[in-house]
Amino acid sequence: MTEFPQLSLHVPEPAVRPGDQPDFSNVKIAKAGVVPRPEVDVASEEIRDLAYSIIRVLNRDGNAVGPWAGLLSDEELLTGLRNMMKLRAFDARMLMAQRQGKTSFYMQHLGEEAVSCAFRKALRKGDMNFPTYRQAGLLIADDYPMVEMMNQIYSNESDPLRGRQLPIMYSSKEHGFFTISGNLATQYVQAVGWAMASAIKNDTRIAAAWIGDGSTAESDFHSALVFASTYKAPVILNIVNNQWAISTFQGIARGGSGTFAARGLGFGIPALRVDGNDYLAVYAVSSWAAERARRNLGPTLIEYVTYRVGAHSTSDDPSAYRPKTESEAWPLGDPVLRLKKHLIARGVWSEERHVQAEAEILDEVIQAQKQAEAHGTLHAGGKPSVRDIFEGVYAEMPAHIRRQRQKAGY
């Protein structure tokens, strides 16, 4: 009889922990401009390499290079920079507001601004995103009023969601932003359903699904890929790999698969991996996927490689599980600084104009904040009514809920 060794369980561990030197030597970064740009009707098996590489446009010098470059005008890029700066300023003010007790909870985007801001540009009016909690750039870049976002965060008397939802769980059908659940991965398969509906009705609109690296482990992710693949749904399946699922490094969800993008290959879904901190690359790849969807060629899976610079949420302390300086060592840099450098290299931006823009944007955010705070914050000023607890559970309030509302005194 053959002798075998005793079995042992493999539990992946990140390369470094607090106190260690940050180390991203295992993150293989392709040079900007080297990954080819296939035709949109390419078969997934012909572009398997794109699921393992990283599509990048901006090089170290801030120049846009390669086949994915050249899609956006100066003006569009300046707007993109402004959107990312606005999201960053918005986050900073709302984080502060949370620390001041004006709301219970907040989640910021620091380091990930390019993903949602650039993606929004690839969509059209009427398309629908099914976002997670870290894609507020979809709203900012679509000019959704910041004051409405703040009203929601403060759960004040003007909160469009009447105080029912955790801060940042926005909803805006008009702006193509499906109501955020707070549950993980459920929205991924819903996006596929929305896209199937659009195809059933011979519409022209497409859907976008959003998920984080950690939540790809949920069964709904798998269900979504099966349905998207089977029915060739016009949907863009986005995975934002920001390296961390609260305290759990991405290796726990990824397992033995080389990349998250590679998950798409088994479903026959074209899968691409992109530099998530490169505004131009994010736009180039997402607009390629959007074109595929609009041409009825079916779904595309995109992994955005980025880094969550901040804490998971205001209830998290990353210094407990990763080196404090890890974000500085992140090899793909900062999305705002990279686009800024590119615009300076293009001769349409300068350090002075950047400083001036920062001041203007901060002022704009503060004005919105003042306007929102005039309608109250979580514990002070105008609030949604207790009546709002009972409304909207059903289209028509059933008798038992009416009795309970009366018992509550409303």
Partner: protein, 337 residues
């Protein structure tokens, strides 16, 4: 009027709804070309095409998740979960998504979906084809829960469910698909064609969700039941010669509390019957409401007759299923108290 089985009635409801409204779509495991394992969707794909009635992968969370997305788009999906026992992978989508989308978005998005699912025992289906999970739905605010007991109600209620602006769990007692079943498994099956409630209009009609029906007026004791147990309760009352009033709830959420309270106030006695397990079952809610609203009219403790608190067995089906003998004993007990 036509004579229909409950299968034909359910199919007719979907047919009528798909004919009237292009936004109604039907899908699920085996429901497309083949027409469903119980044949409820037979012919719909041929009539309405593959994009309105189609087969899905075996993934309940996928079926319900995509239905929710379609509803957010503006369609009205009426999907089949092959057996109620298979709905658990979709439970997250049902409870935390479908049920709350209207509320959490303040009506910005809504979720008008219907989940049809064969429920209950009586077909030797064992533990994974016999369950009655209605209490797992009635505990969730934002859902409506309907259980018809005959073809006429099944069609009218399913049309109402498809037209409802909120998510409806539509539990079809599979033992009633081909005929009323009073629990006397040793007797030959009576077909719906020999029953008054097998008379079903061919066109459109609906029955409001939230209205119970008194199947047998009486003055001595109120029996509250739904689905298959309505027929068991009727048989038990007849066989015991007790002047029982049998209420068919039809809709568990919302509950027609007025009909229940009026009846128990009149009779002073109450037996609650369901196939599902006892502990924290739907009957517990009804009995709590009965004591809250009828306490001073009660002549005896309220009794529940239910499935045992065990998984649904295979070989011992008829010792598990709460048949007319057990319901009859409960009636006698309540009358003697």
């Amino acid at each position: 009027m036509a004579r229909m089985t409950m299968i034909e009635a359910v199919r007719s409801a979907m047919d009528v709804s798909m004919e009237r409204d292009d936004d109604v779509v039907v899908f699920g495991e085996d429901v497309g070309y083949f027409g469903g394992v119980f044949r409820c969707t037979q012919g719909l794909q041929a009539k309405y095409g593959r994009t309105r009635c189609f087969d899905t992968p075996i993934s309940e969370s996928g079926i319900v998740g995509t239905a929710i997305g379609m509803a957010a788009y503006g369609l009205k999906p009426c999907v089949e979960i092959q057996f109620a026992d298979y709905m658990y992978p979709a439970y997250d989508q049902i409870t935390q998504e479908a049920a709350r989308i209207r509320y959490r978005s303040n009506g910005d998005f809504t979720c008008p979906i219907v989940l049809r699912m064969p429920t209950g025992g009586g077909i030797f289906g064992g533990q994974t084809h016999s369950q009655s999970p209605e209490a797992l739905f009635t505990h969730v605010c934002g859902l409506k829960v309907v259980v018809p007991s005959n073809p006429y109600d099944a069609k009218g209620l399913l049309i109402a469910a498809i037209e409802d602006p909120d998510p409806v769990m539509f539990l079809e007692p599979k033992r009633l698909y081909n005929g009323p079943f009073d629990g006397h498994h040793e007797k030959p099956v009576t077909p719906w064609s020999k029953h008054d409630l097998g008379e079903v209009p061919e066109g459109h009609y609906s029955i409001p969700i939230g209205k119970a029906e008194i199947r047998r007026p009486g003055s001595a004791v109120t029996v509250i039941a739904y689905g298959t147990m309505v027929h068991v309760a009727l048989a038990a009352a007849d066989e015991m010669g007790i002047d029982a009033e049998v209420i068919d709830l039809r809709s568990l959420l919302p509950l027609d509390l007025d009909t229940v309270v009026q009846s128990v106030t009149k009779t002073g006695r109450c037996v609650m019957v369901h196939e599902a397990t006892l502990t924290s079952g739907y009957g517990a809610e009804v009995v709590a409401l009965v004591q809250e609203h009828c306490f001073y009219h009660l002549e005896a403790p309220v009794v529940r007759v239910t499935g045992w608190d065990t998984p649904y067995p295979h070989a011992q089906e008829w010792d598990y299923f709460p048949g007319p003998a057990r319901v009859g004993r409960a009636l006698a007990e309540v009358m003697e108290a």
